[in-house]
């Protein structure tokens, strides 16, 4: 992770994003300057509509900014074509969603294997990687279970395994505990902490949940599209 310590995970300058609603332009992010160093565990917090999910989507390469600069691990995202961006996401970003977003027709192992289809790995290698990822989240005994046969916490653990199976530098999590009970939420957060500390993954997490936010090493407050780094800031 030497390279990562030199290049920041995320660097943005005057990043702006606005949406069109009918003829009206609705600003969501109004010129954000922010640097997130590699290996950080950051919580993006703020009230509904503050723009934290939009910021996360921009960082993850799911959406394009309306203005300003955005570099992720030294890569200027706005210069990538849609296809190139898709490949970049596949190799650099792992996703964790509030509702897990597992494919219901695939079992746990197949869901974890899914992103590996975009790599050059052989069938056997894919299976080995997926098995390793699932054993890391403690679900080696649930390989052939379908999402509908798993609890919410288990589904989210499968989703985490899917997020790390390609060994990305960056994990983005949108309300990862939003749909979970307290115990499952704790498990998921502990897992994220470990991924950050033991494997050096940069984690950016959007959350409403105060307890979840406290587990991050840095909290960034957003309000009305602007940065309000809190007292417990950097």
């Amino acid at each position: 992770m030497q390279e990562a310590s030199e290049v920041p995970a995320v660097r943005m300058q005057q990043l702006r994003k606005s949406y069109h609603r009918g003829n009206q332009e609705v600003p969501v992010l109004n010129g954000i300057d922010l640097v997130i160093e590699a290996g950080a565990f950051v919580a993006l917090v703020g009230p509904s509509g503050s723009g934290k999910s939009t910021l996360l989507n921009l960082i993850a390469g799911l959406d394009q900014p309306s203005g300003g600069d955005l570099e992720v691990f030294g890569q200027e995202l706005s210069v990538l074509s849609e296809g190139a961006l898709a490949r970049w996401r596949a190799s650099h970003v792992g996703f964790i969603f509030q509702f897990y977003n597992l494919l219901p027709v695939l079992n746990a192992l197949e869901n974890v294997e899914l992103p590996l289809l975009l790599t050059g790995l052989s069938r056997r290698e894919r299976r080995e990687h997926a098995l390793a990822a699932l054993s890391m989240v403690g679900l080696s005994d649930r390989l052939t279970h379908y999402p509908s046969q798993l609890s919410g916490g288990q589904q989210q653990r499968v989703a985490i395994a899917r997020a790390v199976v390609t060994d990305p530098l960056l994990l983005v999590a949108d309300e990862p505990t939003g749909d979970l009970d307290r115990a499952s939420a704790e498990e998921v957060l502990a897992m994220l902490e470990e991924l950050n500390e033991a494997l050096g993954k940069t984690i950016i997490m959007v959350t409403h949940d105060n307890r979840a936010a406290q587990r991050a090493r840095r909290r960034i407050h957003l309000d009305k599209g602007e940065l309000r780094e809190g007292a417990d800031g950097v």
Binding site: L62, P104, R123
Partner: protein, 385 residues
């Protein structure tokens, strides 16, 4: 290997919906195949026509006969190998419902001209020896349960009176499209009776059928025969047997056209059903498509996922419908008896059936496929909540 598995599992997700759609497609493909086979059956007579046969009839219309004396002059035209003749008898067997073609024919020459009517030598001999003898096709004999030696009564309509025939032979078709639904008897028997009862109508022939030595002579021989009788009391029109048969089909060609239009309509109906199914499936799965896109899958993968499912369902229905066509055609043929002959499902029909299923799958899958490929990740993920 991943993609086909995913497609298959998606297709099986809503078993009821997929099952109903496959059923709908099977019905449509079956209906299309049967309607096409009905149209083919109409043309079967023309298709079975021999290339070396010409038919000479009265130029005014088929209702008018030709004098038997034309026969000698036709036979002398160069290139003609053999001449036979027949009269449409009409008539009623028990009730009007029992329709089958009945011809009075010049027995010996007629059977020589139609080698596709396979008649055992003994039966042929028995038929030729019995002036009141008759020969029928296997299918016709089965329909009415006739046996050799049985007497068959017909009530005359064109030729009044009660007629009694003795079944002397049952022929099999050499080709699958040979008409096995025809009733043949001696022209001489008809003519003798007419000489007694209606002498003005005797020695008249419905059509002459002639066999050429070379098929290439057809145009020249037709022209020469018609020129021979030009400006006579009974002018002739000579055409190939195929053209003659097609003339019958063309008289009901509006019905044939209607059946063809209708058979395309069922394809449109099922296209609607299929498009609806795929549209609903894709609509429900937008969040999944967005997730796949977020993970880095490109639009092409999603397009294949949706299109593959549509084509898979359509082909399942198409295969089922095509497979069902053969037994359905056999049942239909048994039901309609001798109305259609040569009711056989052609290979072209089966290929077309599968192509139509494929086409419906692609067309129905296209709109949702574009929708899946174009979906914005943000909007797709948002639609989950």
């Amino acid at each position: 290997m991943y993609l086909p598995r995913l497609i298959l599992r998606n297709a099986l997700r809503h078993r009821l919906r997929t099952g109903l759609t496959v059923l709908g497609l099977a019905i449509a493909v079956l209906a299309f195949g049967l309607l096409r086979t009905v149209v083919d059956a109409w043309y079967a007579g023309a298709d079975a026509a021999s290339a070396t046969h010409l038919v000479t009839r009265n130029a005014i219309s088929l209702v008018f006969p030709l004098p038997l004396t034309h026969r000698e002059r036709i036979r002398r035209v160069a290139g003609v190998r053999k001449v036979s003749y027949s009269n449409w008898f009409g008539g009623v067997y028990i009730t009007e419902r029992n329709f089958f073609p009945r011809f009075a024919v010049d027995a010996g020459t007629y059977l020589d001209l139609y080698p596709d009517y396979l008649l055992p030598a003994a039966e042929r001999k028995a038929f030729l020896l019995d002036r009141r003898g008759a020969v029928v096709g296997r299918k016709l004999a089965q329909t009415y349960g006739w046996r050799l030696g049985q007497s068959i009564p017909l009530r005359g309509t064109i030729y009044p009176g009660s007629w009694e025939f003795v079944l002397r032979g049952i022929y099999d078709g050499r080709q699958p499209n040979t008409d096995e639904g025809i009733f043949l008897f001696h022209w001489d028997y008809l003519n003798e009776t007419l000489r007694r009862n209606a002498p003005r109508r005797a020695d008249q022939v419905g059509v002459f059928v002639l066999d050429l030595m070379h098929a290439e002579d057809a145009a020249r021989v037709s022209g020469e025969i018609d020129a021979l009788f030009k400006s006579s009391l009974a002018e002739t029109l000579t055409e190939t047997e195929k053209a003659f048969q097609l003339g019958f089909v063309s008289m009901i060609d509006t019905i044939v056209l209607a059946v063809q239009v209708v058979s395309l309509m069922v394809v449109v109906i099922v296209l609607f059903v299929m498009a609806n199914t795929m549209g609903m499936a894709a609509g429900e799965r937008l969040p999944e498509y967005a997730t796949l896109k977020a993970l880095g899958f490109r639009p092409g993968f999603l397009a294949l996922l949706v299109l593959g499912e549509s084509v898979l369902i359509a082909l399942l229905g198409g295969l089922a419908g095509t497979a069902l066509t053969l037994p359905a055609a056999a049942a239909f043929s048994a039901q309609t008896g001798t109305l259609f002959h040569g009711f056989a499902v052609s290979h072209t029909t089966m290929v077309l059936q599968l192509l139509i299923a494929l086409g419906v799958g692609v067309l129905a899958g296209l709109p949702p496929c574009l929708r899946a490929a174009r979906i914005s990740i943000i909007a797709g993920l948002a639609s989950l909540n």
